[in-house]
């Protein structure tokens, strides 16, 4: 089994001939559906036309003008349900334009050639603190730098990009690509990133408040949620976030488990199932509490799990992780939905043996830190409430965006919200 081959990029870089022919197909729709579908509203027909007329620099500028993480988004966006899903060609059963890869064709070139995207204005003498160097924070930083603010980003980890680095499946984007784009942006925009700087307690907050004109919270979510069943703390029972991060940071080169059970029905569960199968697990079983059609995962992510060789069982709820010290199996109970409510079917328990369990049932909210900010309104699901058109929180000095606000969406949503907050901060401080 060739693990390296299994982890080949599913959206490899286009060569110039491919880019030419693919860009030639674009119809240049009026009020284009692809742009409407893009959370960052990239003028997609424009950059495709620019690629087609060999203005690859112009194409990259068009993309970065709307989306500071243009390269990362081209690779990790669920384009099948966003821009490409909206392409009018779908209605003719003609393959949609390969927008994500065309985007990367332009942005990759920009990064490699260190294209000068913007002229950063002279400092306007105001400083902004950003907590979290994930997509939202980086995007917010770029926006603020383009207005002449000094920007300091405080990152708890020792590297940037948050989940784009730690959470995205390795066959969607390589770590090098993620880091290269952030470095490209840092050089372009000149924001500062301070690593291993966890901002946590009230004193930290007060310090930042005293030193900075505004603070952007792009802290994302925390670790995997517990599912609160017996045996959950056994060895070889991991949370999905931690499992994926492990693979991303220290790539596994040999098959690591024989039989893996993945609990969950969202995109993260799909990632774990696909990655496990690609890593050489003999059997991967995706177990979801409800029916197939109720899974939150995108259809193409589910297809990826099947292509990789994972199997699925539906309408089964885990009730115990069995085994001595290590997980040796999961005890399930069968379920059915009655009047919209999930019910256990009595006496239907059964055990599926395994040597690894991964729980992909969500991430916890980092609410403890947020309670240190006075007057910060948090909604009942633990997300920060913001004004959607400015990113401003109920504490006017604080702005927020990304997973901490939206509860866990795509990288592209975080980029958009970070940019909106950047504009919102500028407006707030100009008042």
């Amino acid at each position: 089994m060739d693990i390296e081959k299994n982890f080949a990029q599913i959206k490899p870089l286009m060569n110039s001939s491919e880019a030419y022919y693919e860009s030639s197909r674009c119809l240049f729709c009026y009020d284009a559906p692809c742009t409407i579908a893009c959370p960052t509203a990239i003028d997609i027909p424009l950059f495709i036309r620019q690629i087609n007329s060999e203005n690859i620099i112009g194409a990259a500028k068009t993309i970065y003008e709307s989306n500071y993480l243009g390269n990362t988004c081209g690779k990790v966006c669920p384009t099948e349900v966003l821009c490409e899903g909206a392409c009018v060609f779908n209605k003719l059963n003609i393959p949609a334009i390969d927008i994500g890869r065309l985007q990367n064709y332009a942005t990759n070139n920009a990064i490699l050639t260190k294209l000068n995207l913007v002229e950063i204005p002279d400092s306007i003498g105001k400083s902004i603190a950003i907590i979290g160097a994930g997509p939202a924070g980086i995007s917010c930083a770029c926006q603020l730098r383009s207005e002449g603010y000094k920007v300091d980003i405080f990152e708890a980890r020792n590297n940037p990009s948050g989940l784009a680095l730690h959470g995205v499946a390795p066959y969607k984007i390589t770590n090098e690509e993620v880091l290269m784009e952030v470095e490209f942006l840092r050089e372009q925009f000149g924001f500062n990133v301070f690593y291993n700087q966890r901002v946590e307690n009230k004193e930290d907050m007060e310090y930042l408040e005293s030193k900075y004109g505004a603070i952007f919270l792009g802290i994302g979510l925390g670790g995997s949620t517990a599912i609160k069943i017996r045996g959950e703390n056994k060895q070889n029972c991991f949370g999905a976030t931690e499992f994926i991060e492990q693979i991303k940071i220290e790539p596994i080169v040999e098959p690591f488990a024989k039989k893996v059970i993945v609990l969950g029905g969202g995109n993260t569960a799909m990632d774990v199932a696909t990655e496990s199968a690609k890593l050489g697990a003999e059997k991967v079983i995706l177990a979801y509490r409800r029916t197939k059609s109720e899974m939150k995962a995108y259809y193409f992510e589910y297809d990826l799990t099947k292509d990789a060789g994972a199997e699925s069982v539906f309408n089964v709820a885990p009730i115990e992780i069995v085994g001595k010290n290590s997980a040796e199996g999961v005890k399930f109970i069968r379920t059915e939905t009655i009047d919209g409510k999930l019910e256990y079917i009595s006496s239907s328990e059964f055990v599926i043996a395994c040597d690894l369990v991964v729980k992909a049932t969500g991430q916890v909210k980092q609410t403890s830190m947020l309670t240190n900010i006075s007057g910060l309104k948090i909604d009942k699901s633990g997300q920060i409430s913001v004004n959607l058109s400015s990113g401003q929180t109920s504490n006017p000095k604080y702005f927020a965006g990304g997973d901490v606000v939206n509860g866990g969406k795509e990288v592209v949503n975080a980029v958009f919200e970070g940019k909106i907050a950047g504009k919102g901060i500028h407006e707030f401080l100009c008042k």
């Binding site: 030419y20 022919y21 030639s24 197909r25 119809l27 240049f28 729709c29 009026y30 009020d31 559906p33 087609n52 009018v88 060609f89 209605k91 003719l92």
Partner: protein
Amino acid sequence: MANLNINFAGIKSPNPFWLASGPPTNSGYQIMKAFDQGWGGAVWKTLGVPVVNVSSRYGAINHRGNKMVGLNNIELITDRRLSDNLREMEEVKKHFPDHAVIASLMVQSKTEWHQIVKDVQNAGADGIELNFGCPHGMCERGMGSAVGQEPEVLELLTGWVMDVAKVPVIVKLTPNISDITVPAQAARRAGADAISLINTIQSLIGIDIDKFIAYPVVENHSTNGGYCGPAVKPIALNMVKNCAQNPYVQLPISGIGGIENWRDAVEFILLGSTSVQICTAVMHYGFGIIRELTAGLEQYMDSHGFATIDQFVGKALPNIKDWADLNLKYSVKASIDEDKCIGCQLCYTACEDGAHQAIDLNDDKSIRIPKINEENCVGCNLCSLICPVENCITMVRKDDGKQHITWKQRTEADNIPLIFDDELAGGLSHAVRKPIDALKK
């Protein structure tokens, strides 16, 4: 079953598809190969005093993913010795006695003309084509299009050829002239048996915008060339039509210019061509395209009940009239098939910006199917032309077909706009928006 045989001014050919004089007919080897694959005839690469060519020689325009929709060349006539060409011509004729081998010729003096005509006839040529069309290199030496652009010189030179010609003589015309029927008539006066058109159009194919040199590049320079390929077909069709309709020309026509498939060939035939000549498409795809050409032509003839080519030569000519003879009462309006529409809204923006503001978008932006404003629609066709979906936008006839009045008739009836602010202005029938509305977002 359709019979593809033709008799073109006395030149017999098993089908109307001839290779035009050019790189594909540079040698007996190529022509034998083409005949073997099914081509009906070949016009040999122009013979004369051999030339010396440059490198590179071709430039092309590509259009959004389609390579070489137009080709330009600066290659000259044959660079091979006449004796080699003649020997090969003889060999080709020996193997393919029933195929048409036509010798394209270009020389200067009367003596040379007389000599070369006799030489190719001795080699077995079934016909002669006089290259009075080449618009690059040779014209600067007083040959090619330099002759085609001077009807008197064309007539004189053709006369020299007719002095000694025993096989049919075709005069190949240059399109680099304002009225192609003038040299066509000169050819007729000189006694030529047929005409062929068009030769290439004088052109610059493009510029290397970084090095400031036109294509094709010869070291640090370039020169104009001759333009051909699919992009030139409409120009060729019009010129063929002009010659075919002219009562003073009345010669068999070999149609040339951008023919790539059987449909193109049929169009040339419907405008009065008996044979068609093809070069660029062979340079692009090889001799193998003949399979599609003959099969398509046969199918077309069978489906229309044409037993021979003659039965539809010029069949479209009576329907091409002067603008002043068109019916001003005929009225079509665009119609969008909502089931087929994919919502690209290209028709909207084309009509809005490029035509008559006769297509509206739905106020509800989530409904992307545009609506035709029939009052403003002038029936121009633009939307139906740019629509990417087959048969989604069609033009539907709206008049009752009972009324017929032409510009000529209106002129005769003194019923046409004559002054700048005339109430008879055609545009008064549809609404034109106020300029300031353009700035309303």
